[in-house]
Symmetry: C2
C-alpha cells in the first residue's frame, strides 16, 4: 500500500532550477513558486502524505502547454498534470519535485454539436460547468464521479461513478483527445466520428494513463439526452446478499437502470445520522431510472417486484425532482457522513471491482474482515458494475492504524483479484496501488512499461505513478 | 488506394524455410504447404490481389500459438493471423510471405457467466456459433458485421455492423483479451470486472490492431439479454437528406433504436430485383427496436411520426419474427444484390464514417461524385453511427476501372476526413487505406509506429498492414 510503496523519484535540482527560471520568464504571474500554492497542488484527498511540486504553472493554450513540456523535456524535469486535485490515489503528488501543470485556466467549452450528441472541451472544464452550459440544449454529460472534477482529470484516471451502469465510464464516453506528448508534439488521437477502425486506439491508451504518457489538451465527449422523466427511490434489504441478488435480477431482465447504489448497514447508520434520514438501518439500494414517463414508472414497479421477491422492500420511489435530489444529496454526502462516524479521523477511500456474480461474497468477506480487524470502515458501491468503495476511518497520526489499514486494503485487493476482479474500478493506480497492478495483470505490466518507455523515454510525465 | 499502396515487405527465404521445417515437425498434418490451402488463406474479399503465405498452421492451444510465434520470432518470419478471411482491406494477405495462423481449431466456448452477462471464448469461435450456443441462456452477442466472422478477427479489426448504434462496437464489447505477443509471451490484458482503472488499456490497444501487435488467444465478451420483443420495418423517404434528418431526430429523442440502416435508391433497386421485394425505389431506412412489447410498439409509432414529419413514410412495421427475418435477409444480402447490378463484376467495398450532422451532405456529395465518374456504386449505411459503405462494381481485369475506383475511394476518404470523420468506420486500414491513416491522424501515426516498434521490434506480426 501507499506508504510502503511510494516510489522514490530522484530529484534533478539543476534541471528544476533551470525550468523554474524559464517558466518564470515565460509565464510571469501565471507561474507560482509560493509555498501555499505548491502545497495545494501536492494535496491528496487521502492519507497519502503530500509531496509538493517545485512550481505551479497555469497555461491557457496548447502552445503554452507545449512550451512547458519542451522546457521540462530539455531539462528532464517531472511534469505533474493537475485538474481539481480530487483524485484519491496520490496522482497529483510530486515525489521527485517538478512542475505542476494546473489546467484550470484551460476551461473553455470549444463547441457543442447537438445533432451529433457530442462536445469539445478543454481539460480544465469541470463536470458541473459543462452540465450547466448544456442545460438549455436538452443534453447532459452523464459521468458523475461525485466530486466536481475536471474532465481532463476524469479522462486521465478513467473515472466513472454512479451513472456508469447505464452510460459507461470515461473509456466509453471520450470520443477523441488532443494531447501534448512528452517530446512536445501536439497530437489528435481520433476524428469526431462515433466509431472508427483507423489505426491503434490512442484515445483509449491516454484515457486512464494518469498523466504518464501525455498531457490532455482537449476532449471530444459523447453527450446523452436529458431523459424526459426520472424516477428513483430507496429500498432496504435484509442482507447485502439479497440486495446483490436484486441487482443481478434487474440487470438480467434488461431493465436499463441508470444508477443502482448499495449502501451497507454501517454507512446507512452514518447517513441517517448525518442527513437526518427516515430510513431503516439495514443495507439499502439507491436506484434511479431514466426514460419516458410511463417507462420509468414501469421500471420502478418492476424493480419493486424484484426487491420483494428477494425479501426486500417496500420500494418507495418518486419522480418528483426535489424529493429525488434530496435522496441523492444524501448519497453524494456519503463520504462526509462516513467521516462523522469518527470525528477527527481521515478516510482512506479505496475501491475494487468484481464480476457482479461474486459481489455479494466479496462484500460479505470484506465486512467480516473489517469486523475482525476492529476497523471502522463503511461500504458504498456502484453495484450495477460490481464496483464498491470502502472508507477506512483512521487516525492519520497513528502509524499502527495506518499500517493496519494498509494491510486491510492489501487483503481487499487480493480478494477482488482472486475473484476475477480488479484492484481499482475507478480510482486508478496512482501511488497507492502500484504493488497490486502486477499482482493483477502479471507480465502485461511489462508491455505497459515498454509503452511508457518508448513514448516518455526520460520519464518526465508524472513519474512515480502506476509503475 | 490498395494497388498503389500495397507496402512491399522483403522476403526472408532462409528464415521461411527454417520455420516451415520446424512447424512441419511440430504440427504434422496441421501444417499445410499445399497451394490450395495457402491460396485460400491469402484470399481477400475484395479486389486487392491475393498474396499467399508460405504455410498455414492450425494451432489448438495457447501453448501451440506460443511455439509458432517463438519459431517465427527466432527466424524473423511474418505471422499473419487468420479467422474466417472475411476482412475487406487485405488483412490476411502475406506481402512478404510467412505463416498464416488459422485459428479455426481454437473454437471452444470456455465459459458463459450468465449472471455477469459475459462469456470467454477462443478466437476461432464465430459470431453465429456463439449465438447458437447462447440461445437457451436468454443472452446474445449483439455485434453483427454481416459475415459470420470469427470473434478474434472481429476484435482485431474493431468490427461492428448493424447493431452498433445500440450495443456498441467490438471496442465497447471486449472486456478482456489474452494474447501471445511477438516475443512469445502470453499475457492477459484485464480482469473480468465490468470496469477497471488499473493501468494502460491494453485491451483497447489490441482491439483494432489488425494482428500487428499480438495474436489474440481468447476474448472475454459482454453479452446482452435477448430482448423480450422486437419490432422492425422499412420506411421510404423522398431523399437521403430526409432520411438522415429522421435518423438525427430519432437519436436526439433518445429512442434506443437497435438498428437503423440506410439503403440508397440504387441499392434499393438492386435489392428489390434480387430479393423480390415490394418496396418503392427510393431511399429507405430499415429500422429495428428492442425492448418490452409495449416499448417496441411505442418506439415504432414514434419513429413513424418522425418519418412523416420529414416527408417520409408510411412506416410499415411488424413484431412478427418471420416477417422481420425476411426483411433483414434482404438487407444482409445487400452485397450480393449489389453485385447483380453488374454480373461478372467484383465489388470494392469501402466504408467511411462521419459525424451524423454531416452525413446527408457526405452521402449527397458522394452520390454526385459517383454520377460524374460513371461508376456503378450503390450505398448502404449504418447511419445511426454516421457510417456508410459504397460498393463499387468493377471489372477486376480492367486496370483503368480499378484506377478510377481507387481515385473515387481517395476522394471519398478525403471528403469524410474533411467533415471531421474517419476513412474507416469498421473495415480497418489493412492494406487498402494505409495512405489515408496519416492524412486523418497526422503525427499521431508516429506514436502508433513507436508502439509497434517497441512491441514488435522485428516487425513479424502481420507486416505491411496499417502502416
Amino acid at each position: 500500500m501507499a506508504l510502503k510503496d511510494l516510489r522514490a523519484v530522484p530529484r534533478n535540482e539543476e534541471g528544476i532550477a533551470a525550468v523554474c527560471g524559464i517558466l518564470k520568464q515565460r509565464f510571469g504571474e501565471r507561474f507560482h513558486l509560493s509555498g501555499s500554492v505548491r502545497e495545494q497542488h501536492g494535496h491528496t484527498t487521502t492519507y497519502i502524505p503530500n509531496q509538493i511540486p517545485d512550481g505551479v504553472v497555469f497555461p491557457e493554450s496548447v502552445g503554452e502547454v507545449q512550451d512547458i513540456v519542451r522546457a521540462c523535456s530539455e531539462f528532464r524535469v517531472p511534469i505533474i498534470p493537475f485538474g481539481t486535485g480530487t483524485s484519491l490515489e496520490g496522482h497529483v503528488n510530486a515525489p521527485g519535485g517538478g512542475i505542476s501543470v494546473d489546467t484550470s485556466r484551460m476551461n473553455r467549452i470549444l463547441g457543442v454539436n447537438s445533432e451529433d450528441l457530442d462536445c469539445v472541451v478543454e481539460p480544465g472544464v469541470t463536470r458541473e460547468q459543462l452540465n450547466t452550459h448544456l442545460r438549455d440544449s436538452g443534453l447532459f454529460f452523464p459521468i458523475d464521479p461525485g466530486a466536481n472534477a475536471s474532465l481532463g482529470g476524469m479522462a486521465a484516471t478513467r473515472a466513472s461513478g454512479t451513472n456508469a451502469v447505464r452510460y459507461g465510464t470515461m473509456r466509453e464516453n471520450v470520443l477523441a483527445l488532443t494531447a501534448v506528448m512528452p517530446d512536445g508534439r501536439a497530437i489528435s488521437t481520433a476524428s469526431r466520428a462515433r466509431k472508427s477502425s483507423a489505426g491503434y486506439d490512442l484515445t483509449r491508451l491516454l484515457v486512464g494513463s494518469e498523466g504518464t504518457l501525455g498531457l490532455i489538451t482537449s476532449l471530444t465527449l459523447r453527450l446523452a439526452g436529458i431523459p424526459q422523466a426520472i424516477s428513483g427511490g430507496v429500498c432496504a434489504f435484509p442482507s447485502v446478499e439479497a440486495a446483490c441478488k436484486a441487482v443481478i435480477m434487474t440487470i438480467q431482465m434488461g431493465i436499463p437502470v441508470a444508477r443502482i447504489e448499495l449502501v451497507n448497514q454501517l454507512q446507512m447508520k452514518a447517513m441517517i445520522a448525518y442527513s437526518k434520514l427516515n430510513y431503516p438501518e439495514s443495507p439499502c439500494l439507491f436506484v434511479e431510472f431514466h426514460g419516458s414517463e410511463s417507462g420509468v414508472a414501469e421500471q420502478a414497479e418492476t424493480f419493486g417486484e424484484i426487491a420483494s421477491e428477494v425479501g426486500g422492500g417496500p420500494f418507495l420511489w418518486t419522480s418528483v425532482a426535489e424529493e429525488r435530489n434530496e435522496l441523492w444529496k444524501a448519497r453524494h454526502n456519503a463520504y462526509w457522513a462516513a467521516q462523522s462516524l469518527r470525528p477527527g479521523s481521515k478516510a482512506l477511500s479505496t475501491d475494487v471491482c468484481v464480476p457482479i456474480s461474486r459481489l455479494a461474497q466479496c462484500i460479505a468477506e470484506t465486512e467480516e474482515d473489517i469486523k475482525r480487524s476492529g476497523l471502522i470502515a463503511p461500504i458504498v458501491g456502484h453495484v450495477g458494475d460490481g464496483n464498491f468503495h470502502v472508507l477506512v476511518l483512521m487516525n492519520p497520526d497513528d502509524f499502527k492504524e495506518i499500517e493496519e489499514a494498509e494491510e486491510f486494503v492489501g487483503r481487499l485487493n487480493e480478494r477482488a483479484i482472486s475473484m476475477e476482479g480488479t484492484c481499482t474500478g475507478e480510482h486508478g493506480i496512482g501511488q497507492g496501488k502500484i504493488a497490486y497492478l502486477r499482482r493483477e495483470l502479471g507480465e502485461a505490466v511489462d508491455f505497459m512499461l515498454s509503452l511508457k518507455a518508448v513514448i516518455d523515454p526520460h520519464n518526465i510525465m508524472n513519474p512515480g505513478k502506476i509503475f
